[in-house]
């Protein structure tokens, strides 16, 4: 049976990590199901009592989401429209019970191809801040998650926060998820979109990411570039082609066939684009 530590400040947590190897516990919503009925033998470092790891704050250069921020925290926070996609994803994570416990860091560290947090965070150009007893480092989320269940997080590191570079008030976003039932469902496919436009209504930045259709959620960079300079208005989705989607690499599994995933992803991207440019959405 392993040790269990529940420090109340980050320094204590880091001191802990200097001795022996520790498995990090956050909301436990990935940890416990994976554990099943096997006895817990690892040393567990529970981060949920460390206040500085939780919560959302605006910094000079953007936004900081503490790693232990729960999906419910995201839903309740008052945030610019650029975060609507992330909020929509948060509302789609499992159920209220899961949203109340599950955390952003847990979601990205678990590195499931179907992690709902990934596409919106990729569309927001998120960066991951890691901390270890030997210091901190930051890397783009794209580099952080390296494959199915694999990340760049070293055993002596933990995810302290996820940073989002400053967003403009004109940024619009959307997230759509497809599953085989209404609640508590793992995505068959999902798409997140972030659109910035100038005073003339022309697109100045587009970020589009698709999840559940490749080992790690993936941006559609070709499409993003093609949308630059286009009108951020209804009809935008007509620019999407099958070729944009072909960079994805979905699998066949119990939830859906690969070819269906591709066609669904394409449709979701179209719809998410239309939703993001739908007029009448004002900052709240």
């Amino acid at each position: 049976m392993g040790n269990f530590s529940r420090p109340t400040c980050l320094d204590d947590a880091l001191r802990n990590m200097e001795n022996g190897s520790w498995r990090i516990l956050a909301g436990g919503t990935d940890f416990y199901p994976a554990q099943g009925d096997r006895p817990i033998t690892e040393n567990l470092l529970d981060l949920t009592a460390i206040p500085e790891l939780r919560g959302i704050s605006q910094l000079d250069d953007g936004w900081r989401f503490g790693g232990l921020t729960t999906w419910s925290d995201v839903i309740k926070a008052s945030l610019p429209l650029a975060f609507d996609g992330l909020k929509a994803a948060a509302r789609e994570v499992g159920s209220i019970q899961i949203q109340n416990s599950g955390t952003i860091a847990g979601n990205i560290c678990n590195a499931s191809p179907a992690a709902d947090g990934m596409p919106p965070l990729l569309s927001l150009s998120a960066e991951v801040e890691l901390v270890s007893p030997s210091g901190t480092r930051r890397m783009p989320l794209d580099d952080f998650v390296t494959g199915v269940r694999s990340t760049s997080c070293r055993p002596d590191e933990l995810v302290r926060a996820v940073h989002i570079p400053a967003v403009s008030t004109g940024s619009r976003s959307a997230f759509l998820k497809l599953g085989a039932r209404r609640y508590l469902v793992i995505s068959i496919a999902m798409a997140a979109v972030l659109i910035d436009s100038n005073d003339q209504g022309k697109i100045t930045r587009a970020r589009i990411a698709v999840g559940s259709c490749s080992p790690v959620a993936q941006r559609l960079i070709g499409l993003e570039q093609r949308l630059l300079g286009e009108s951020a208005a209804s009809g935008l989705s007509e620019l999407v082609t099958g070729g944009d989607i072909s960079v994805l690499n979905p699998i066949n599994d119990v939830r859906a066939s690969a070819s269906y995933r591709l066609s669904a992803a394409e449709e979701l991207v179209r719809r998410a684009l239309e939703e993001a440019v739908r007029p009448g959405v004002e900052a709240s």
Binding site: M1, G2, N3, F4, R6, L25, G27, G28, T29, F31, Y32, P33, G36, D37, R38, P39, I40, L44, D46, T48, A49, S72, G94, S95, I96, Q97, I98, N100, S101, L178, A180, R181, R182, Y183, L184, V185, I186, I188, V254, R255, A256, S257, Y260, S263, A264, E267, L268
Partner: protein, 923 residues
């Protein structure tokens, strides 16, 4: 983590200080250390929400929370919601609406709803769905839960009472409902004996495998606290069981070879802590994976591995019903349609995994277990232990959903053998994956059918062949094989008919009983083809069905002619107006260009279902007695698995006696205390045990009338320890204490036994298999998103002929809950052995997947049933899936014949139609 750390927190308003291992799941702390068993465990993985508790007011799954995380916080469980023991408004509203059936999901529902109501006192339907979306219910279909939560803030209705003689037809609260909404009901994992050892089973990881144990003795001695390992060698009697004695073929522990993934080879027994500390993957057993088959087509190959020596070719059994002249029938046809249909394994997915407890008392063994068939279990266990049935006592706990699977043995034999051998109390609780891998499923089916009709729209011939994958062991496979050919015609007159069924063994999970015994599968084929046939003849799909529906005096395909009680046609006719307007609404929607890409459709299905065993005796006995202290005691062994048997039987019996349900106390389901009321399956408890309850009540009434020397017109009443009988102006008062009592303390005891009249089927399947059928018709309105292939159900309308609605609330509950299972069957459910052994990958409908349901109760009384009542439990599931498939086809033209109709299958069927249209236009 031995001994753990000290945790202090507030639990339901009371401070708690407890030592507990910090990483232990909060469910365990609450249930096992603090005795708060109202918090349930259905999956230990976040998938069912049964374990929902409030931490600082917010709902979380206690099964995924480290106990240490509640330190210094406030925790509220279901036990904290009934202030001073009296029900909250929410609990009263849940009870009133029949929103708790089996009750296993109820604590999680109520706790989640309470958190919502703290925030919003007038929640709308969407808010309720969002708040309860994380709690699965397999019984209710959720609609009554939504209603109950909506009504909760203002709830002020007093429970209905069953004045003498007026219980039948009344919307009484469930007689066992209080405990369910309070969370005090004891389910199998909650009930046990003090100082129990724990049992865990070692199961095959392969579909078929040889195995060799290592050194079991040293394994035991290397693990202090482990008492023993049980294997086939430890079985005192026979290592064999099965629900149908001539087909008994399943071992408790496999010998030499396992036949399916999840089959047990051994069990470890020991102190709870020692057993829980075991990593069972280190158990000393060596497996050798062997060639296997999972599909009948493979199992029927000559070279396929043979599962049972006495069943050559892996053929278990077959069924046949034949009437008229096939060839002549098809020759008359103006239109003929045919098709191949398939369905996969369907998991019952009750929220309560199997569990139980046992102890040895002298030369007897007592077993507390969740079961649908206490007497059958008793006899099987006696044979396994090599003792007389009377030496076994089955004491059913509350059952957290069964739907057919809890007829078969699960934990019972392990419990019985361990308790017998060790002379210690023992308990066993299946994990969710263990439950899903090792217990029975709905039979996968492969059906081909061909149906023809004449120019005037009359069915003239049908040919049906169904292959049912019964898996590794027979279980209820023979029942499916018998039932399907009788029912495959649907509730229609088909003069020339031939239906064959074949049960085939494979190395898949054991297929057993699941609501409908194969009939839902056959109805999918038959009702889908009916729409195509009506279209081919260019007649209205509903009128086509009405034109062919059974009525009194018209023979069924087994040649049975009912001169009363057949409501098939009336059920369909009831839909006429609604069908027309639903069709018009859908057409208007589809014609609107704003709705491009979304298509609405309407689908129909009829249904019928025979109540009770097929051509086999299945008697029930019920007793009711009056004590000298004025209590009326009802002895019923008809197990209530949530469907409401306890309440229905009480209502029937109370009216037969002429005294109110409120005067009754209940002795339920104990093979030592209650007479045999058969199994809870085949929709027989209302019809058969209900009739026995009626006869028992009448029997008691006669005796009571005799005390007062009054006629049957007299009104009876209880007043303390007096019984009054009033007739005209005269009232007789009998002091019960002055009457002689029997050795059980009764002044009078009534007993009733009923066995419905049936006759055996001849070699062509002709005869009277059931004393009564129940009938129904359902209509589904839905919308298909053409690009994604997703289906949104808009409304379900369900008409059911129940003979007599003993309790309309319970009937609606059955309709809504059964239909929800039909929705799952149609749209999302398929169990894949080894891949979907959890509720994460095996999807059942959530609260957001069940549309509003309009239940229309039709009462075409049956001469045999109590007060005219027929069965209903299984019927409700039969029509839903075909109606959904027909509505998808109505909306899009897409036919789906391999279930479930997941978005990818719907999408590819739509693409196929569009491609066809393009090539038609081109050609």
């Amino acid at each position: 983590m031995n001994g753990g750390i000290e945790l202090s927190f507030s639990l339901n308003g009371e401070p708690q200080n407890v030592m507990a291992p910090p990483a232990e799941r909060l469910t365990k702390l609450l249930r096992e250390r603090l005795g708060k068993t109202g918090t349930k465990v259905g999956c230990d993985a976040g998938d069912c929400g049964a374990c929902t508790v409030l931490v600082d007011g917010d709902p979380v799954c206690a099964c995924m929370m480290a106990s240490a995380q509640v330190n210094g916080r406030t925790v509220t469980t279901i036990e904290g919601l009934a202030a001073n023991g009296s029900l909250s408004k929410l609990q009263q509203s849940m009870l009133h609406h029949g929103a708790a059936q089996c009750g296993i999901c109820t604590p999680g529902m109520i706790v989640s709803a309470a958190a919502l109501l703290e925030k919003t006192s007038t929640p709308n339907e969407d808010e309720i769905m969002d708040a309860l979306g994380g709690v699965l219910c397999r019984c209710t279909g959720y609609r009554k839960i939504i209603r109950a939560v909506m009504d909760a803030p203002e709830f002020a209705e007093a429970p209905q009472r069953s004045n003498s003689g007026a219980a039948v037809g009344a919307r009484l609260n469930r007689v066992d409902g209080d405990a369910k909404v309070k969370g005090t009901e004891l389910f199998a994992a909650d009930a046990g004996f003090a100082n129990s050892l724990l049992i865990r089973a070692i199961r095959s990881p392969y579909h078929r495998a040889g195995f060799r144990f290592g050194d079991l003795k040293s394994y035991v001695s290397a693990h202090p606290g482990v008492e023993c390992v049980l294997t086939a060698e430890d079985i005192p009697g026979r290592n064999l069981f099965g629900v149908i004695p001539p087909f008994a073929d399943q071992p408790v522990f496999a010998e030499q070879e396992t036949r399916f993934r999840g089959e047990a080879v051994a069990a470890v027994v020991g102190d709870t802590e020692a057993i829980e500390a075991l990593d069972l993957s280190n158990f000393p057993v060596e497996w050798e994976e062997l060639p296997h088959t999972l599909l009948p087509s493979d199992a029927l190959e000559e070279t396929a591995p043979q599962l049972h020596e006495n069943r050559p070719g892996n053929q278990m059994t077959s069924g046949l019903v034949r009437c008229g002249d096939q060839e002549a029938g098809f020759r008359q046809s103006a239109a003929t349609v045919k098709g191949r249909f398939s369905t996969g394994y369907i998991e019952h997915a009750y929220i309560e995994p199997e569990a139980g407890a046992a102890r040895r008392v002298g030369n007897r063994v007592e077993i507390k277990v969740c079961t649908q068939a206490p007497y059958m279990n008793r006899d099987d266990i006696a044979a396994i232990l090599g003792i007389a049935p009377e030496q076994v006592r089955i004491m059913p706990t509350a059952v957290g959903g069964g739907f057919g699977s809890k007829l078969d043995l699960s934990t019972h034999p392990f419990l019985a053998i361990a308790a017998w051998k060790l002379d210690r109390a023992v308990r066993m609780v299946y994990t969710r994956p263990e439950s899903m891998a090792s217990t029975t499923k709905r039979h996968p089916s492969e059906i081909t059918a061909k149906i023809a009709a004449t120019q005037d729209g009359k069915l003239c011939a049908m040919e049906f062949e169904g292959i049912f994958n019964t898996g590794a062991y027979a279980s209820w496979g023979p029942t499916v094989a018998n039932r399907v050919p009788v029912h495959a015609s649907g509730p229609y007159h088909i003069p020339n008919y031939s239906a064959r069924s074949l049960g085939v063994h494979s190395n898949g999970p054991v297929s057993g009983a699941f609501r409908g015994f194969g009939v839902p599968q056959s109805a999918i084929a038959q009702e889908s083809l009916f729409d195509e046939l009506a279209d081919a003849l260019a007649v209205d799909r509903l009128e086509f069905r009405i034109n062919n529906a059974l009525e009194n005096g018209i023979p069924t395909v087994t040649g049975q002619v009912f001169d009363q009680g057949c409501g098939a046609k009336k059920c369909l006719e009831t839909l006429r107006g609604r069908w027309q307007s639903a069709r018009t609404n859908a057409a208007t929607f589809n014609a609107n260009s704003k709705n491009t890409g979304r298509r609405r459709g309407v689908g129909l299905s009829g249904l019928w279902y025979g109540c009770g065993n097929t051509s086999l005796p299945n008697p029930s006995t019920i007793r009711v007695g009056l004590r000298d202290n004025g209590t009326l005691v009802l002895f019923s062994g008809a197990v209530d698995i949530g469907q409401g048997a306890n309440t229905v039987i009480a209502q029937i019996c109370a009216d037969a006696v002429g005294l109110p349900v409120e005067a009754m106390v209940f002795v339920n389901d104990d093979t030592d205390l209650t007479p045999d009321a058969g199994k809870t399956s085949a929709s027989r408890q209302t019809f058969i045990s209900g009739k026995a309850a009626f006869l028992a009540g009448e029997n008691l009434r006669e005796k009571l009338l005799r005390f007062a020397n009054v006629s049957n017109e007299a009104r009876l009443a209880l007043d303390g320890t007096s019984l009054t009988a009033s007739e005209g102006d005269a009232t007789h008062r009998i002091d019960l204490a002055s009457l002689a009592i029997d050795n059980e303390g009764f002044v009078a005891l009534g007993e009733g036994t009923f066995d419905p009249p049936t006759s055996p089927l001849d070699e062509n399947g002709q005869g009277n298999p059931y004393a009564a059928f129940g009938y129904g018709a359902q209509m589904v309105e839905l919308e298909v998103d053409e690009a994604l292939g997703t289906v949104k159900l808009l409304k379900l309308t369900a008409v059911h002929d129940v003979g007599r609605a003993i309790n309309p609330t319970l009937i609606e509950g059955q309709i809504e809950g059964g239909s929800a299972q039909g929705i799952g069957l149609a749209l999302m459910e398929e169990f894949i052995p080894g891949r979907s052994e959890n509720l994460h990958d095996y999807l059942i409908p959530t609260i957001g997947d069940v549309p509003p349901i309009e239940s229309i109760i039709l009462e075409e009384p049956d001469a045999f049933g109590p007060y005219g009542a027929k069965g209903l439990g299984e019927h409700v599931l039969v029509a839903t899936a075909p109606a959904i498939l027909n509505a998808i086809r109505d909306a899009t033209g897409a036919t789906i014949r391999n279930l479930p109709a997941t978005p990818d299958k719907v999408r590819s069927a739509i693409v196929a139609v569009q491609t066809q249209q393009v090539s038609d236009e081109a050609g």
